[in-house]
Symmetry: C2
Subunit: 315 residues, 2 copies
């Protein structure tokens, strides 16, 4: 059994690569829920949906999120009705069906794990997808104070930071509201304990992998399996391929490099896969406490994702 | 000022007729909210939407509810995900935009009156549309017990009765949950007190006009203006044009005829407009305590609705 700790787009592509080279029933994805939000009454789990849609071949390949062949009639109405104020988070018509289903099932008393398993089964996927926790956790972002101001910056929800402000504002702090009381979802700790290999997908270390490892018991469980843990750096040549991982690392006092990633993950993972572009930093990664494996890690296409999966499994 | 007490489809057509012959800014619709429901997390107000969509020319003319040119991608997804179980209440993609807006605004603390006014304004409508109350009221239907059983029947929500079971089951009782604590929405009692004429639209007397008159203070306010109140019978030749009004009247012990309607509404309305098909019952209506005015009342098309509006205003 292979366990993959997963955020959104990068993790979904890594998982697609793993499914291409493994029996899917041997794969368990443990997925971040810190980005989850309730918007306009609907329970939205962006990372779970990105993983499911990607693996089902239903993702919009241009955006990396949402559905291919999507239409936007509901959103157009909401934009008109609200004069644009309430339409900052794009919800496509097909995608809304998923949120309606999740919201209805949670209201019926199902857990997020149960609903996720139902959705994954309806898509005909054979891997197991587990939210890291069934308990509500909400990533909150404290903005950096305005220059020259002694005032603390405002705290906003993750989606307001990520989508509403297009992660183009400076961040002073990140916390995961509710995390102290969150319990790992059924199967998470068992999957980690029993895995042949644990993969930390190339997801944002702060806001995607962060909530996974901050869920009580998870970092400890992963650390106990440290020798079997292979992480894939989401930072290549100092940059994130997508999203604000590089900015966030620097703003929160880390280094936006494979070395910075190695310092963060060394307590839980023995091996870090770094891109060929970072081959010269292999020594520094090792000095930071992780074995460095150099491999092409930009998943341009399914073949590249499968090749990366093979490299990770061989690492 | 003209005040119309309104349910769904029949009321919406009556209102369209009134707007065709009056300055729209002189019309206030007071609309039933007993059908309102929260479904899959969304706050849905069927009668308010039917009125707004109809008057905006955006209603689906074939169904009498929902949007013209509608698509159903979200519903198709929900149907697939739930194996058909959760898709019994049709929510079109355009229509969903309205529910997302209402749900978001209510979550922000707006009242249903405020949200309704915003939606009506966005559609460019000049009439005033008031929900009868901003407080939650839910029509509940007790099914008739199975034949030969001494057991009471199950109580279900209105939409489960009306849509889920297509109102094809026998009903033993109807109640309006929350009605005792409901207060008329701002402007409702004032509009009734100041109206030149009050029209009871041809809506279901039990489940559409019923919650309006059961809202504390409303029946009393209407009764005080009884001489100015003109009701339009929703029953023509013993049948409802649409929906279960005829069945419900009989099942709850009333007569499914203009005479039965007159007995129900005589306490609050002086005049009943009955269709030419019921001209021979004019005397019985008068005996039941209402002045009978005979006029063609089937609103086949906008011209017929306008003609009925003129007859009502002249009554």
């Amino acid at each position: 059994m292979i366990v993959a700790l997963a955020g959104g787009v990068g993790a979904a592509r890594m998982l697609a690569g793993l499914l291409a080279v493994l029996d899917p029933s041997e794969v368990t994805a443990v997925v971040n829920t810190g980005d989850d939000t309730v918007l306009h009454g609907l329970c939205i789990s962006p990372d779970l949906d990105t993983v499911t849609y990607t693996l089902a071949g239903a993702i919009n390949p241009e955006t990396g999120w949402g559905r291919v062949g999507e239409t936007w009639l509901a959103m157009d109405e909401l934009r008109t009705l609200s004069g644009g104020r309430l339409s900052w988070f794009n919800l496509g018509d097909r995608d809304l069906g998923t949120h309606l289903y999740r919201t209805a099932r949670l209201a019926e008393g199902a857990t997020l794990s149960e609903v996720t398993a139902e959705i994954v089964a309806r898509w005909g996927l054979a891997l197991r997808v587990l939210p890291v926790t069934d308990d509500p956790v909400a990533t909150k972002v404290t903005l950096a104070p305005p220059d020259g101001s002694g005032e603390p910056g405002a705290e906003i929800g993750f989606q307001e930071y990520f989508v509403g402000r297009r992660h183009s504002v400076a961040v002073a702090a990140v916390r995961f509201e509710g995390i102290e009381a969150a319990r790992p979802a059924p199967g998470v700790l068992e999957a980690i304990a029993g895995a042949e290999k644990i993969i930390i997908c190339p997801s944002n270390p702060i806001v995607s992998i962060g909530p996974l490892l901050a869920t009580p018991g998870v970092a400890e469980a992963v650390a106990r399996r440290r020798e079997t843990v292979v992480a894939v750096s989401p930072i290549i040549a100092g940059k994130a391929l997508k999203g604000p991982a590089d900015r966030l690392l620097v703003e929160l006092g880390y280094e936006a490099s494979v070395v910075g990633v190695a310092r963060l993950w060394a307590p839980v993972a023995a091996t870090l896969v770094i891109d060929t572009a970072d081959a010269d930093l292999a020594g520094a990664v090792e000095a930071a406490g992780m074995r460095a494996v150099v491999a092409p890690s930009v998943m341009h296409d399914p073949a590249a994702a499968a090749a990366l999966a093979r490299a990770v499994l061989a690492a």
